[in-house]
Symmetry: C2
Subunit: 219 residues, 2 copies
Amino acid sequence: MQPRPRTIPEATVARLAVYLRVLTTLADGGRSTVSSGELASAAGVNPAGLRKDLSHLGPCGVRGVGYDVGALRDRLTGVLGVGSSRACVLVGIGNLGSALADYAGFGTRGFEFVALFDASPARIGQRVGDLEVRALDELEDVVTETGASIGVITTPAEVAQSVCDRLAAAGVRSILNFAPVTLAAPAGVDVRKVDLSVELQVLAFLGQQRVPAGVGESA
Amino acid sequence: MQPRPRTIPEATVARLAVYLRVLTTLADGGRSTVSSGELASAAGVNPAGLRKDLSHLGPCGVRGVGYDVGALRDRLTGVLGVGSSRACVLVGIGNLGSALADYAGFGTRGFEFVALFDASPARIGQRVGDLEVRALDELEDVVTETGASIGVITTPAEVAQSVCDRLAAAGVRSILNFAPVTLAAPAGVDVRKVDLSVELQVLAFLGQQRVPAGVGESA
DNA sequence: GGGACTTTGTTCCTGCGTTCACAAGCGGCT
DNA sequence: AGCCGCTTGTGAACGCAGGAACAAAGTCCC
């Protein structure tokens, strides 16, 4: 029986993850308490917004003092499910895939890559990090064995949909897609897309919009 | 008298970039016209929303027919500033940095990496893609010479703020940050953050929230 | 030439996210 | 013990994004 509503806005969840990171850093630095203002500043958000985000977890601070760094960190760890490690599979071991497989930031945040897949025979058998690249044929079996619930797609765009279908059919419930295509997945499977060139284009557009080209524009 | 208001929402800009990609694919496939419904389906958005997004550019479709693929593509290319190639510098040539430097998707979308930097002497001088990794000391000079307006940070978190400061001081107006820290930049400099582990955490949370504890779910 | 169908562009509305501002609660000081 | 200042937590207003429905416009067919 959760006294708190089980619906936490996605935008809030994303920020909670950022708070958790900042808190970890603070804890390592020996800090015992933080105020919402300082935490908000470190996370780059509004103090009031931070308090509202945290209010979704129920009261977890002390008025007049602030938040206990360790306690809040543990609270966030629990809510975000970082405590229990989650099995992930990574499909497409190109440059980006290799980078992700090697990225240490995942292991310390409750995510563990349990298998790497690639279609290219030249890649199969290579070691990346501490895993061996496996043939794509084994995907379904490995997902079933390991119970992996998260799949990461870093394949070329052409095969991403096919990989998505196979992951979903094998039982993966959440997919993080780096391929530059919009994936269709069955109901019950979440797909989240990260498009690097879109990020760059938005950035470029904002910059260009700010300074069109010497057009008589005040500010 | 600008026919189009110069304020286009960021969310819309991000989608415009997606539309542009889809249109390019369609054009390569020989299609000459598209309806908003089909384009929206390919982009994974609502048809009405797509038309609203496109309305920010002024009328660019033909009623009863649809959109001319080539014309709309060119229109988006112009608005997003993809036509003129933009010089970018990349700082931090680890796994992720190397992947980005090699990523072909940027070059074809109006972005050109003109220099790669790293602090590690072991990295300096190595070739990644068709560029040579340069010493971080040269950062200011190279930015000035090339007039680079965009910087991409893929360094460890500890040095990201320092790199950000130097990029901003050197004249870079837009920064894409992959380091897991919140950067502070002077006014007039846009910072956009991509946090891979946050993406994974949000995904994991949504999945966990959907199925709290094996609740029967009829897809 | 006229009518009807198709598709765009627009307008309204609903809901969400964000921000501001205030009341409640706790610690420290006198 | 009482007061004061500080900080959290919450309530309300604002603005924005998303979605649905409607009118305008152009084309195809008869």
